[in-house]
Subunit: 378 residues, 2 copies
Amino acid sequence: MIDYAKLALQKHKELRGKISTVNKDGLDTKEQLSTYYSPGVGAVSSYVAEHPDELRDYTWTNNLVAVISDGSAVLGLGNIGPEGAMPVMEGKAMLFKHFAGIDAVPIILDVHTPDEIVAAVTAIAKSFGGINLEDIAAPQCFEIEERLKATLPIPIMHDDQHGTAIVTLAGLINSCKITDRKLSDCKIVLVGSGAAGTAIAHLLNEYAHPEIICVDSKGILYKGREGINSEKEKLLAYTNPHNVEGSLEDALTGADVFIGVSQPGLLTAEMVKTMAKDPIIFALSNPVPEIMPDIALAAGAAVIATGRSDFPNQVNNALAFPGIFRGALDNRVRSITNTHKIKAAEVIASLVESPTRETIIPPVGDSRLVPEIAKVIT
Amino acid sequence: MIDYAKLALQKHKELRGKISTVNKDGLDTKEQLSTYYSPGVGAVSSYVAEHPDELRDYTWTNNLVAVISDGSAVLGLGNIGPEGAMPVMEGKAMLFKHFAGIDAVPIILDVHTPDEIVAAVTAIAKSFGGINLEDIAAPQCFEIEERLKATLPIPIMHDDQHGTAIVTLAGLINSCKITDRKLSDCKIVLVGSGAAGTAIAHLLNEYAHPEIICVDSKGILYKGREGINSEKEKLLAYTNPHNVEGSLEDALTGADVFIGVSQPGLLTAEMVKTMAKDPIIFALSNPVPEIMPDIALAAGAAVIATGRSDFPNQVNNALAFPGIFRGALDNRVRSITNTHKIKAAEVIASLVESPTRETIIPPVGDSRLVPEIAKVIT
């Protein structure tokens, strides 16, 4: 068993950073210096100043994404601040390059209110062809992404929300195939209404309008419950149509699908047994899922997906974001829409020709993912 | 004669950007993914969050500079905005990589007041090991740099100011050697009190306290003149000790040195003839200098330097900034001081073993520049 904590500390210190920049041409001759810098570059600057829409044709912005975080919700570590976020953002930049050939620059923000974050990102946005927001805590992440999308003409995606939602939808599409269900007829219990949970609910509703019941630390989310914030009010606009109250156990009785983006061990075998026949379980708490796969299967689960690479059916954002940004950049998409997300989920699902309970989503290394997803982001 | 405008437009469009990112290691195996991203990176993030001073030991920030501009004073093009600035900033990033092996990321700002620029740069500063401010108009550039230096614990340098000042000082040190002068005894006429002119005056005063007379579009700068802004008041604290009034011609009579960072053709042969014997001329307006070298030499100039690569003695910032940031990053310098700038100028001057009127500064390609300058930035 590899001690990844130790190995990671070792390798990071040894490499002193995981990414680097390179020049696309030499600067050894006077001709090169005069072409790429003064005086030649002056003509390019003048031209681009007069034709700002062509900025991407003349600069690296056509293939460039910023990976931006304020460090308020880093992996499972919580609000550890911008410095702590940097290794993850640099890792994400590596993923962009490795999977999609996209240049990515990690940016950590030392400001934390939505106003300040929106101001900082807006100020630097023209430097990039797209923006991947990462590891920003809920509920601020919703407002920040919405406001940036409303004003900036480049693709912006908070991956913790939408990457997870897209891959979850892809997995559910194939899980329904296996269990002979229609997603629109499913009763889905969704536990955890942070960034990922909220985005999953919105996307499932957009796609198939199933019956969704959200559950958080206070139990079932229902109209009239005390202390509902505006994001939860948005969820209540379409979830819990019969406005039932109660606990997770109450919600689960007869449910077709459990989706957890909450905490380790929340789901017991007993609860699984109260669900509908052949229940579908997405236990996405990471690294320790809401229920371990062997327990879920023994209790009757037809499909179990987790966030882990050492079990089958890993719900991994890296299935979605590389292709989405590849397509958004190549096709000069100005905004990533729900339609894009649904199409991406359908592509991911379709890449598994014959879904089985152990293969509802393709592996991260599937080389068809990026080009096929990119095609539908237009 | 190469048409660099045409060639530059062609090559920029062909390459679609001049820089790119690369990963320092592969991500092909599960072990690599788990080391550089989840779960291994979590240990690095936790560690860095607890030891933020060690951020640079574990991330690319140890070798990373941001090249930041709001596009308000791009090359000779003026206030052409952030898009127009991008090709120059990307070119500067190339120079950083080529000359000093430093990773550099161009950032263009879509905000323009000092408050907004300071806020945006402060918000993103932890993402970088150093900040090169570029092509920001005077007088805002002074306030912006000062405020950022006062609060951020990383090296920050507005290169248009200090790069030019450092190389000018280096050239003057050797020009004085050739003409058997002491810089402290020189009478220097400095025309143009924008970013570069102001920084040159400050650095010369710090180094040798010569007699400096500043001249701008309204003539000699003197105490009591109308409409003096705070930056010009700072200049008046030590320039023009006899508080003379008058025109450029008046200032030049008997002067040892002319330094122009102003406009083409400002200096005539007649004016040169009124200067002291063996005058030193730095005609740095670019691409067309204040006086052409052949005219200056015919009028009696002992030394003529310009900003152009096709004449001898090119005053080029690229002689200074690569080594300065190389040293600042390697030696974990938290602020670039006047002492650093003076030492850098002395190093540059010292690399010309036997200065002649045609060689007062080394060529940009001199491979000793970066390591020798870096040694004194401690």
